[in-house]
Symmetry: C2
Subunit: 321 residues, 2 copies
Amino acid sequence: MKVPVEIITLLKKEEKFLIMTHINPDGDAIGSSTALSLALGSVGKETLLYDRDPVPQFYRFLPGYERFTNSISSLVTGHWSLILLDCNSPERAGIDNLTFKHSIVIDHHETERDFGDIRWMDTETAATGLMVFYLIKELGIKITRDIAINLYSAISIDTGTFRYSNTTPEVLRVGAELIEAGANPYYISNSLYETWSGGRFDLLIRALNTLEIRDDIAITTVTKEMFIKTRTGPEDTENFSNFPRMIQSVRISALFREIDTGLWKVSLRSKGDVNVARIAELFDGGGHKNAAGYKIKADLESAKEALLKAVNGYCHKSQQT
Amino acid sequence: MKVPVEIITLLKKEEKFLIMTHINPDGDAIGSSTALSLALGSVGKETLLYDRDPVPQFYRFLPGYERFTNSISSLVTGHWSLILLDCNSPERAGIDNLTFKHSIVIDHHETERDFGDIRWMDTETAATGLMVFYLIKELGIKITRDIAINLYSAISIDTGTFRYSNTTPEVLRVGAELIEAGANPYYISNSLYETWSGGRFDLLIRALNTLEIRDDIAITTVTKEMFIKTRTGPEDTENFSNFPRMIQSVRISALFREIDTGLWKVSLRSKGDVNVARIAELFDGGGHKNAAGYKIKADLESAKEALLKAVNGYCHKSQQT
């Protein structure tokens, strides 16, 4: 992978970096950002790590996660250079009207906006963590055990721990290098997949109880009431939409999460060639080919119908091309 | 990994090989055996692939699995050389009183018996598939796409697709080479984990709805009535007891499956140092440290109580030693 030389030059020249990532941060967002903050910090650079939302409980095993702040008022942004990771627009990071000395975008998502002085976009890459791995190496910075754990976790999350179609020989070889640098695959998998609260597991069961399968689309729902009953929150639904994918006939799994009365966040997961980013874009959302999302204002039944209609339209169009 | 030179010499010299593996074959047994049969076949050797039990339905995506026979009467064993894979005694393969021209054992299991002219045992290795990978390379045989799929699947199964503690840098690098040789990680993971029937998924939800957690033991139940309602059978419960392990506080997950009125099969899965084989042995069952099972004749509530009592006794004893 070729790291743009302008990024290397800028990172070497500047001293103060604001590292930001997208709202509702996932493992790739948190792991790649924390790794870059640790790496730049290890060579004397000052970094501030910002996310609008807190780091979810189940990612708090990542060493250095506590560097994240969700308060932006203290930041004198004009003197700092921005590194926007795992997203490519200020809106996705939940920031607006801020000015930066320079701005660098490093991302692998398909949905693209026009922002940043230097843009490094690679939609073929499995994880932003992989791009940050090459960036750190190119900067000549040592990959410590803590950096390795963050990058290995970032790559694990975005490849389903080496199960998705983005698992390339390169991904496995980088994984091997990260184990040699100190990442422990069992510790990371256990931390990622076997540290659920009882309430979160209860929430999963309640969500699975709502399962409907229509036109090979699995639909599950999480309501505000379920959150209250199980003492959980939106971040606890991470990965829920993957479960119905176990069913052979399911092409798309959609999780409808109630944000507010009549407002839903829809998470889509697909198998094989079904590009759910294209479907999410119809609702002003975005994401990757096999994992995307959007918001919709409607009652639940209408929201479901709108999705089914969009999928049918997409499939009809795909067959014609 | 160093392949014993005597094995290379013998495989080059001889022409007829009986490849056998253990009863109730798993993915490593089937994948490594099929890969070796395909490889030796590709250089003109004659091979016969034997297992006492049929290849389970969910492993029938492996190219070449149909080479397996479970009839041994047709074999003129005295003229053939035996290669025993993923086990190290004729008893584990369910064969007795047979004679072979030569016998080679290739295995990574801990329990060892004294059998074979040439024994290649490596308990440090994640999978027999990994040993067969090096063997095929050392023989100078090309790793075709079909061989790669079998070896990648074998390694996937025995490492939980790179999640268990046996996932080493070497395992990931061999995985990378096998992808380059034609193994498709997504196709393989999908075949292994995402080909459930709708009924099986329905059964899982019903089982999860019975979840109780007592003394950090997760208890789920599958009744005969549930099988009828979901049109499923006992083999569909494979892996069910792993789900409650996702809860951080759970030390042991126990699935009670109704065999007949008042007769239960109990599957135990544990985390870390809790040895469930010791607990299963109290009920005349057995297994491994983190996966074991037994049968019990009792009404459901008494069967649960008996387990809780046994676990408490075990834990009390463990603390004393």
